[in-house]
């Protein structure tokens, strides 16, 4: 049996950015929360993947954060979308819709 895990993982990675921005559009969150939400929808990545990605998005200006004190450890970064981030997200959502439609058409057999 040829292993399809690799391809599946590829597919997931491709949409990671979109999902993170979407989650944040629903409310501010810190990395652990984001991971939890992803897990809920069965989109699993390791935490370590998130940090560099979030930092990049922040540096690009799509995200920003604030500090919050925590009782269970060091202070946390709470991320949220910026205006540019929101616009960017809408664009990604549009292209995602297009992509889904195109792919569905392709894989559905024509009768």
């Amino acid at each position: 049996m040829v292993n399809s895990e690799n391809t599946k993982a590829q597919m997931r990675k491709g949409v990671l950015e979109l999902c993170i921005l979407s989650i944040l559009s629903q409310g501010d969150a810190y990395p652990t929360e984001i991971i939890e939400k992803l897990k809920e929808t069965k989109l699993v990545v390791v935490e370590g993947t998130l940090y560099p990605l979030l930092t990049r998005l922040k540096n690009t200006g799509l995200l920003t954060y604030r500090w919050e004190e925590s009782t269970s450890g060091p202070p946390r970064k709470y991320y949220m979308l910026t205006e540019i981030g929101t616009t960017y997200l809408r664009e990604l959502q549009l292209s995602w819709a297009e992509l889904v439609e195109a792919v569905n058409k392709t894989i559905q057999p024509k009768n």
Binding site: A9, Q10, K13, G14, L16, E17, P31, T32, V45, V46, E47, G48, T49, Y51, P52, L53, L54, T55, R56, N59, S70, S72, G73, P74, P75, R76, K77
Partner: protein
């Protein structure tokens, strides 16, 4: 009871068990290395550390105050291994991760051939990447070397085979990886030293307690481990040095070899060496087989030396197994060729032939025997015993050996002849010249013997013996030899001139006088053999052997009824019934019944 370490992560203090600490340390270091050069790398690092601290805090309580190994494992599982999040982020098109991977992912730069930027094989491009220089310079250098007996071509070939091509992305990144400049090298050395120090410290600690990590190793095993580590470290350095040495020596040897073969070389070679090869080997295809055989037999080891030297130097591990096999086979072919040639050549030495020519000699009461320096007037003769002015030095004792001479663009093989004097059985004075040579067949040997040229000339009662016999180089060196045997009847007196010293060989005489003592004296043939006529004060053979120097007798002054005999170091005066004979280094005067002869260097 276990030892704990106190650390702080993101400002939070933790007590952590020693082995857990090791693991966490390594983990954090690997992540740090990953994001070291990335933009905002520090920020990412501190974010991750904060999260790790948060995770660990969740694992600590009043009941469990120390971070254990399983806690660290938990952290790593959740946070992910560095490979995991880098590749994921990279696939997601995260340029940040790409940067991190590209600028750090690869360790020290490694040598590869650049297949994407190649002119011929990507050798110069690859080396250019490694050293950070423009490949153009390398191509120029290689081209120059090409004119040095084509060594550039061979060097390129060796490099092409030794250096692997960068095929995978990982390879390509390592090709352009972290620059191997002085800083990095010293950093690498320092890191190695640090590692070594840590190992030694750990060894010191481990030695006194049992390790919990695996089966406890006893002291002997630990010492062995430690020594192995240390020696591996030292060994790596030595191996590097060895690699450099091998390459340099190999290249030099190769240049020398090639120069020898082609005659085109920058090193001083012995021209005669090449000549000898010509003279020894047979002609035609055998000659070329011999040449190729030598080239392969000596060349292959040299090439492999350079090849392995390069491999060691640049840590090229992907050795082509076929190379070793092929090289070995080619070398064996060379060996086989040499053995074949050796067999064939020795075959040509198998049979020996001796030719005897008898020449009539005009008899006389006293015959003066001298040596004639053959070709002394011809310039380009490489006879090694001539000094700068072309003066021949007289030797003590018989001279053997061969030399190559050139005259009118033709090369000749010259050998030292021998002379002997024995009693004539027929009562006639005659000269027998024995020419000896070897060949594959008796006829071949005879032919070669016939081709030997040797002259003895007579002027009045002086016989001039050539010192060298001549062989045409086409005949090759095949053990040619010449002996001139003078047969004189009883009663004849001969005078052995000093010049004959290198020519005569064990002339039998009644008093068993050593050859060296026989010269400059008169000997008369008697029934029993040669007897000395004017040997007053002659040192006996015994004295001579005991080291009483012949110089004494040469310093001798002898004036008696037979005449005057004065011998100085490089001069002599003889006055007797035959006349006057005065020798000195640069000239000689002879007065006898034929007249006055004056020989000076310019006046012969």
């Amino acid at each position: 009871m276990n030892k704990t370490v106190t650390i702080n992560i993101s400002g939070i203090i933790f007590h952590i068990e020693e082995d857990a600490y090791e693991k966490l340390s390594k983990y954090l270091a690997s992540i740090k290395a990953l994001f070291n050069k990335a933009d905002g790398g520090n920020e990412i690092m501190s974010d991750i550390e904060a999260r790790i601290a948060e995770m660990l805090q969740g694992k600590i309580s009043a009941a469990k105050q120390v971070v254990l190994m399983i806690d660290v494992d938990f952290v790593i599982d959740n946070m992910g291994k560095p490979e995991e999040f880098v590749s994921e982020a990279a696939e997601a098109g995260d340029p940040l991760a790409d940067d991190a991977y590209e600028t750090q992912g690869s360790p020290v730069r490694r040598l590869f051939r650049d297949g994407d930027n190649k002119v011929i094989g990507g050798v110069c491009s690859g080396i250019g990447h490694y050293f950070g220089i423009d490949p153009v310079w390398l191509r120029i250098a290689l081209l120059l070397l090409f004119f040095f007996a084509g060594s550039g071509f061979l060097l390129y070939l060796i490099l092409w085979i030794a250096i692997p091509e960068a095929k995978t992305t990982a390879d390509k990144l390592m090709m352009k990886g972290e620059k191997a400049d002085i800083n990095n090298i010293s950093k690498a050395v320092k890191e190695e030293a640090e590692q070594l120090k840590k190992r030694m410290e750990k060894y010191g600690k481990d030695f006194s307690k049992a390790s919990r990590r695996g089966a406890p190793r006893n002291a002997a095993e630990k010492t062995a481990d430690f020594l192995a580590d240390v020696f591996t470290g030292i060994g790596r350095v030595l191996l590097k040095i060895f690699g450099v040495a091998m390459v340099i020596i190999g290249l030099l040897l190769f240049l020398a070899l090639f120069g020898l073969e082609s005659g085109m070389t920058a090193l001083p070679t012995n021209i005669e060496g090449q000549e000898w090869i010509n003279l020894m080997l047979l002609d035609g295809k055998d000659f070329y087989i011999g040449l190729i055989g030598i080239a392969l037999f000596l060349g292959i080891p040299v090439i492999m030396l350079v090849y392995f030297g390069i491999r060691i130097l640049f840590k090229l591990r992907y050795g082509n197994r076929w190379i070793n096999l092929t090289a070995g086979l080619i070398w064996l072919v060379g060996l086989a060729m040499l053995m074949y040639i050796a067999a064939r050549t020795s075959q040509d030495f198998a049979k020996v032939a001796k030719l005897r020519e008898t020449v009539q000699v005009q008899a006389a009461d006293t015959l003066i025997l001298k040596m004639n320096e053959v070709w002394v007037n011809y310039g380009e003769l490489e006879i090694s015993d001539k000094d700068e002015e072309g003066e021949r030095h007289y030797y003590r004792g018989h001279k053997t050996g061969y030399v190559i001479g050139k005259h009118d663009q033709v090369k000749y093989l010259l050998g030292n002849a021998s002379m002997n004097v024995i009693k004539s059985q027929t009562g006639k004075t005659e000269l027998v010249i024995v020419k000896e040579a070897r060949g594959g067949s008796k006829d071949m040997a005879k032919l070669r013997a016939k081709h030997i040229a040797y002259t003895v000339s007579q002027t009045g009662n002086t016989l001039m013996f050539d010192d060298l016999f001549r062989v045409n180089s086409l005949d090759k060196f095949r053990g040619q030899d010449v002996t001139a045997i003078l047969k004189i009847p009883v009663g004849t007196v001969i005078y052995l001139d000093k010049s004959l010293e290198s020519l005569i060989y064990d002339i039998e005489n009644v008093t068993n006088t050593y050859d060296g003592d026989m010269i400059n004296r008169r000997w008369q043939m008697t029934e029993e053999g040669l007897k000395c006529v004017d040997c007053e004060g002659l040192i006996s053979v015994k004295d001579h052997l005991n080291g009483v120097s012949n110089d004494d007798s040469d310093d001798e002054v002898n004036i008696n009824v037979n005449g005057v005999n004065i011998n100085a170091k490089d001069a002599s005066i003889k006055v007797d019934s035959n006349g006057v004979d005065i020798h000195s280094k640069e000239s000689k005067v002879t007065i006898d019944k034929h007249g006055v002869h004056v020989d000076t260097k310019s006046h012969k």
